[in-house]
Symmetry: C2
Subunit: 579 residues, 2 copies
């Protein structure tokens, strides 16, 4: 979750603050219960993705949804710099997974040179832990404490817990920590679920390429149950395992036909595309052992900017799983130009997950974009449909040019449905192309799909020029074996200033691509080539509302990090900028 700590000079601070246990250690530079002002107006700042108000963010942590339907996102957070280090748990909440309130920092280091690495949260409804005698909404965080020695070398990584009586806003460290002791420097990222009658944890023995499964009746006492070792791509280490139950759906009918488990496992460094990636394994879990259905290796994302995704605890039984990933890559995350805006890294959009059998390929975990309605403007920017005529080109016009320079957010949702495709008339030249460009600078972000040949969907970010890095790969592609019998194909995407997220073939494949242009991209060009006569194309392009603007004060600043925020409770939903 965090490769190379930069150990800032820290000093003990005795001052107290809400959201912070009296026994924690606070770097004086870390703000406590005072706003961390977030300027969300920068050209590169995403408007419908979560990003921290200031500082550096990496892995999503502790994600759960509470009984009131509030989604809690915690994250690896350096509040004092725009590079990794000095790890805290930042915190944000949302009612809809698109609008996020920046909450106070939730977890501080317990002592000097001990950092709060990745982990998870559960709601201990039945008070198994004994921390919550009089409540059903007690929250327990389970996470790694990573110790460093004075010379900067890594010490043990042990597993600790903290509990919250106020629904996840402030935490107390458990006195009996660590709950899993260790002498290893490479043992981290516990993710806990409830299985029938006990808690089950997956955790990475990072450099042994092993996921350990532990069980507990009470979140305090843990027993090692099994290991899942040397599966899939190894890279140089395993990180951030997840074990998550999700529906198995009939792809055609959408019906739930069963439930199954997915083991998601991140690899960093050493991904095939370089740096960080995440793979997954569908299978069965009996409470102590995970058994993958096969030995195949499947990737959650075909591009390079989706790492360490976590799946929310507490999602309604039988509904889709929901995940967010970290939309970056350790190869270049600490060098990207958003640092000049005072922040680095965003999360991916929320994604809904289920298992299905993809056309011919077999088991696949679908990544659907969670309904973006909360951030759609009332009126679409473009609704067009046409039928391909005998000239096999887009009619009218070719290409379809959509100027979105007047969209304040500079963010769009795009939904393209292609239907009535006569697959027998498809050739290697049959394409749908979407290119975003800046008339001011000539920069572009290209993408498209070849319906024939090896059927690649491609993205090329090489036409944007605000960032140059030897490891910042420009081109990505994935082969989508679409359903030629049905003759339909759907593409959805969000472009959001410096993130392009694509959902191909209704989520059979997904890609997360950060990009950095010197000027905002403001023109979307859509064209098709050599599609069979009779093919129908439906294009809907929606302007997106900034999910941050409602929280701005009169100076255009989004406050965060104050306990006043969560005390206001339901008022957040009124998007009240006065807190």
């Amino acid at each position: 979750m965090f490769p190379l700590p930069s150990l800032a000079c820290l000093a003990c601070c005795a001052s107290l603050g809400a959201g912070r246990d009296v026994k924690t250690f606070v770097n004086p530079a870390v703000p406590i219960d005072v706003p961390i002002p977030g300027n969300y107006t920068g050209d590169l700042r995403p408007q419908v993705h979560y990003s921290p108000p200031q500082g550096f963010m990496n892995d999503p942590n502790g994600m759960f949804v509470d009984a009131n339907g509030t989604w809690h996102l915690y994250y690896q957070y350096n509040p004092t710099a725009v590079v990794a280090g000095n790890q805290h748990w930042g915190h944000a909440t949302s009612q809809d997974l698109y609008h996020w309130i920046n909450q106070p920092i939730a977890l501080f280091p317990p002592e000097e040179r001990v950092y709060v690495f990745s982990g998870s949260c559960v709601v201990d409804v039945n008070n198994t832990s004994g921390f919550f005698p009089n409540q059903t909404n007690g929250v327990v965080a389970i996470f790694t404490l990573a110790r460093y020695f004075e010379n900067g070398s890594a010490g043990p990584q042990t597993q600790a817990i903290a509990y919250s009586h106020d629904g996840g806003f402030s935490f107390q460290y458990f006195k009996g920590n660590p709950v899993i002791d260790s002498t290893s420097t490479q043992f981290r990222d516990p993710k806990v679920i409830w299985f029938e009658d006990h808690w089950a944890m997956v955790i990475a023995y990072a450099q042994e390429f092993t996921v350990g499964v532990f069980t507990s009746p009470d979140l305090k006492s843990w027993s090692h149950a099994s290991n899942f070792s040397y599966h899939g791509l190894l890279g140089a280490q395993y990180e951030c395992p997840n074990l998550v139950k999700m529906p198995v759906r009939d792809r055609v009918g959408g019906d739930v036909v069963d439930e199954a488990f997915v083991m998601a496992l991140s690899v960093q460094p050493g991904a095939p595309l370089g740096g960080s990636t995440t793979q997954y394994f569908p299978g069965s879990f009996n409470g102590t052992h995970f058994s993958p259905w096969d030995s195949a290796t499947r990737l959650t994302d075909f591009a390079k900017d989706n790492y360490a995704a976590q799946y929310f605890f507490g999602v309604t039984e039988g509904s889709n799983a929901i995940n967010l990933g970290w939309a970056s890559n350790w190869q270049y995350t600490q060098a990207v130009p958003t640092g000049t805006e005072g922040w680095r890294s965003a999360m991916t959009l929320p994604r809904a997950n289920y298992l299905t059998k993809a056309t011919r390929i077999g088991w696949i975990m679908v990544n659907e974009i969670v309904d973006p309605s909360p951030v759609l403007e009332d009126v679409p920017l473009q609704l067009s449909s046409w039928e391909i005529g005998s000239n096999s080109s887009l009619t009218p016009p070719s290409p379809l040019l959509i100027d979105y320079s007047m969209v304040d957010s500079n963010a769009l949702y795009i939904d393209v449905n292609v239907t009535s495709i006569n697959a027998s008339a498809i050739t290697g030249s049959s394409t749908l192309n979407l290119t975003f460009s800046s008339p001011a600078s000539g920069e572009s972000l290209r993408s498209g799909f070849y319906f024939g040949g090896d059927t690649p969907f491609f993205v090329d970010r090489g036409g944007t020029r605000a960032f140059d890095n030897i490891l910042f790969t420009d081109k990505f592609s994935v082969a989508d074996v679409w359903n030629t019998t049905a003759g339909t194909w759907r593409f959805q995407a969000v472009i959001d200033r410096s993130i392009y997220e694509v959902f191909i073939d209704s989520g059979i494949h997904a890609g997360t691509i950060t990009f950095f242009s010197t000027q905002p991209l403001t023109v979307l060009s859509i064209n098709t080539t050599a599609l069979p006569k009779g093919t129908e194309v439906f294009v809907a392009v929606w302007p997106l509302k900034s999910a941050w603007k409602p929280f701005e004060n009169e100076q255009g600043i989004v406050a965060g990090n104050t306990s006043a925020l969560h005390r206001k409770g339901k008022r957040y939903m009124e998007y009240d900028p006065q807190f």
Copy 2:
């Protein structure tokens, strides 16, 4: 092995030619026993890699080494165009794996609209087949015949054999074909080995993500023995399986401690980097079943241009395995600019393989470059060594600039040894960089290694400009967990006009990168940054001799495809240009 056949208009031809069974079907445009002139002087034509005299080449096929030490390479070959289609088996032979003689086309289609797809050869020393009553050097080719219907749609892929009484130069189709019948359009690429007392074949059920294992006493009668299914990356189909025995070597001592099997399996399309890739699984084979040691997925190459590698049959028991791959990718192979020179695709350099435990990562198949001595010039271009001084930069000079514009082949072998590395003083800025450039055009090919941080070795071909394609990825990297305790690291590479092949950490990782520059790259710059004081750097750069020039006639043309060639026998080794 061949995604989309372009079915040229074919006509039956009754003329006869050596190397061709009377029952075969010959497109009149395919030359028979007349030279296919090869011009190997083009700016993009590799000088120490195999490429066909004209036309389009893809997968290596039928590779074996005979009792005289002659290496036989066959390959998927379209002799009449520079795109895939019209598949024959081209043929070349070598005594040293660097100098290749273009032999007559070895296998022609048996009938109209039936093509000779990929497969393998064995030497039937004991005449198990009965084809060779009076000889011990009989060769049997086992391959896929792919039938197409008149409307161009794919018909069945069945397995056939052909036998050669002249050591692999000319073949007769077996009258009892197919030896494995099928109605599937996706059943291909048989690779046969001898196991103790029987023949064993691996073959791809391409779209079922399954490798079938078949056994035979005589190469004619085959029994299905087992399946190896849904392992590793699936992409959209499996192709070109190999099962090969190789030594397990102690990495430090180099000693053989055991032997084991490797299942190599190619995927196309749908590789993580796009298009084509090859993965492998170390394990055990009992004659009927392959059992991988674990469920990990390992890649043979970290870049994008090494597909469908095959391992030579007949290598001396106990010695390293030897493989060649196809140095291209179906995503762009039919568009690269070598077509203007009348040829497309080269093979990789020969690579020697063994299994070892890599530092911390565990089992890995090493890819060592086969000793390039046969193509080294007598005198090195540059031999330099220096110790890093207190200024932590390369001394002298920084950077080291090597002008190789006078090297006729425009090809180099590079061997860099870095020793006495004090790993505790390594930082994220400690690098070794090698950049090739053209002073004429400003183009460049960059590569280098970060000894610290996430330790990526990187290559960037984006600075060359003779080819632009939406799927031609520019940047590649691999994380090399080098042995910091030993404090040594070795890098070897060959740059050969349009192919750059790198062997990292003595072959722990290998990368094959095609590149296309408008002007020849003629300057190599080597520099280091922030290496610890006391680190010693040894650089050897050798000019390479063209492996084709010795075969050129007075007009600079390399002849091929005539039976006179192999009749001349040993004279080839004299590099006699008069045949």
